[in-house]
Symmetry: C2
Subunit: 342 residues, 2 copies
């Protein structure tokens, strides 16, 4: 088989060095791994053949910089790994296509549904999924509390947010009011302000806390947005807002949910989904349209979505075994110290 | 050289697998690495020759369990890696000595000075070190604010606490009051309640937020509490409450501070020290008498305190090169996925 070499660029590569390793294996020597990040100390740089420090995502030079870099380095595909990168790259998809670079990213509309937790809420509701009651107004929240439609504890967090940044648990009205004001101020001081400026008066989300156990899904569509597969994992430990340990499980119920979600959203590539299950009640909490901190637990159990993505880019079909996981595989993230400069 | 084999047991080994690797290298094949943790999914178990799930630290069977395990496995030395483990093991030191097991831990008094942030405060002040103004009473805090002795922002956190658990930043009086009550409730619901029960009415610490850049020290004493050396690192990134990236630096000022601190405290082994430097103003924030999340950055730069500890246990002198770091070495923690069961 004569496979053409293919250079890949990972943007906002951050701490996801393991993902670059997966793609390196998938390339099997036929292409280079490039990593881009605005911080020169990203540990993923240690896993790349070449790495580049970029302007900040919201800098006007960000897209021109990546375009120039892609041309100069014959980048065949860009794989963004950070939420706020997605809408920016989604909007620039055709400009990159013109220079021969495929961005593995959904439409701007899909990126917005995932990044804006209020849009996530209405998307899920209108498609018949359970999701926790959500508010962006303090008055509406207090009203719903008074009418016993919701109850404490409530989560107060940035409407456009990610990970555990600014996530607070309010157990009473005093905390609710204080956290609401605090999150609003914090959003304005952080890079979350860029997306939040769309609707500053509704930049804080107040949400019913879900009971039950947390699960994570990888819901995979191909590059045309057609459903391919779903992997289900039970989360066993969290750290710094991401899955730190998990076990792959067999669940027809959650696989069906993944398939239904994929059909409704029509995203491209991997959709990382956070789910709470209490008794038979399944609620969806968050959608993130990128490889998340939970994907490596699927990969550990035999999945190989990086190989599948490379096949789709080449116009080929992935091998069936890349699209399945063994059930009952438990994994954990381990810390390793690496030298950046000596 | 005929060195006797030596089995080592690491308690509360948690995520510190890299530390077990350092000691494995130091043993150089002459002894076993044992890891103990109350959670069977501790990633450090993957770095041990043998691992054992223990009762919880505050369980009455914890010490009897470890004693029995130490005898059965001919454990020569125990190295605890978790703050709340330290006072419990410090109190049991002679019982272990009777069965031939050395615990690398300070006296109960030193353990208390480090774990109780109010004791840390008075220890530092009475020995002439700068440390942020600290209060355990809301009334005293409001009074100090009114008299302009302190100003917002203030940190509100558990007096007996660790890492980033329950650490809140209050920017005004409303937040201060809400966080004070919240931390008090959280302490009572977590395992922090055991130490906090000593003085429940003063279980929350309110502290002036320090300005400046954060540094970390490893202040090393030998097993008799005599000062040996200090390593200085500038912290470059934090994650989940611990140092995620750092660079070793040369600072006579901070080394002198380490030496003075070691003399005043008389601890045993490694003392992990958090420091803020603003202009020429140096303040000490926390003392943790164990290998901390910052030690690997010293090790990366050439230090080898594990080797030194083994030498001291054998009654030998460490090689001088184990007690020095190269300056300007930058390290980062990287995430690696490992399989716990398949």
């Amino acid at each position: 088989m004569n496979v053409k070499p293919m250079n890949l660029l990972f943007t906002s590569s951050g701490r996801r060095g393991y993902l670059l390793d997966y793609f390196r294996s998938a390339l099997d020597g036929r292409g280079e791994i490039h990593a881009a990040n605005s911080d020169q100390r990203a540990s993923s740089f240690l896993h790349a053949d070449k790495s580049v420090v970029t302007p900040l995502i919201y800098d006007e030079n960000y897209i021109p910089f990546l375009l120039e870099y892609s041309v100069a380095n014959r980048i065949k595909a860009i794989i963004p790994l950070f939420d706020i990168d997605l809408p920016i790259l989604a909007s620039a998809k055709t400009r990159f296509a013109e220079v021969g670079t495929t961005i593995v990213v959904s439409s701007p509309a899909v990126a917005m549904i995932c990044n804006d937790k209020l849009k996530t809420d209405s998307f899920l509701r209108s498609n018949g999924f359970n999701t926790p009651a959500s508010f962006t107004s303090l008055a509406d929240t207090l009203d719903a509390l008074a009418r016993n439609l919701i109850e404490f504890p409530l989560v107060v967090k940035p409407r456009w947010g990610m990970g555990s940044i600014g996530v607070n648990m309010a157990e009473n009205e005093g905390e609710l009011i204080v956290f609401y004001e605090k999150v609003r101020r914090e959003v304005q001081r952080s890079y979350l302000k860029y997306e939040s400026n769309v609707d500053l008066e509704h930049s804080v989300l107040i949400q019913q806390v879900l009971k039950g156990h947390e699960y994570g899904l990888d819901v995979v569509n191909d590059l045309d947005g057609n459903y391919v597969t779903t992997f289900v994992k039970k989360k066993l430990a969290m750290r710094a807002g991401e899955t730190d340990a998990a076990i792959t499980i067999d669940s027809d119920q959650l696989k069906s949910l993944g398939k239904k979600l994929a059909g409704a959203l029509g995203h491209i590539g991997n959709l990382d989904v956070d789910i709470f299950v209490a008794d038979d009640n399944v609620s969806i909490l968050e959608l993130n349209n990128r490889f998340g901190g939970g994907y490596p637990f699927s990969h550990l159990a035999g999945a190989d979505i990086p190989q599948a993505i490379l096949a789709w880019i080449r116009g080929e079909q992935p091998a069936p075994e890349w699209l399945h996981v063994r059930h009952g595989v438990t994994g954990t993230k381990d810390l390793v110290i690496r030298c950046l400069s000596d």
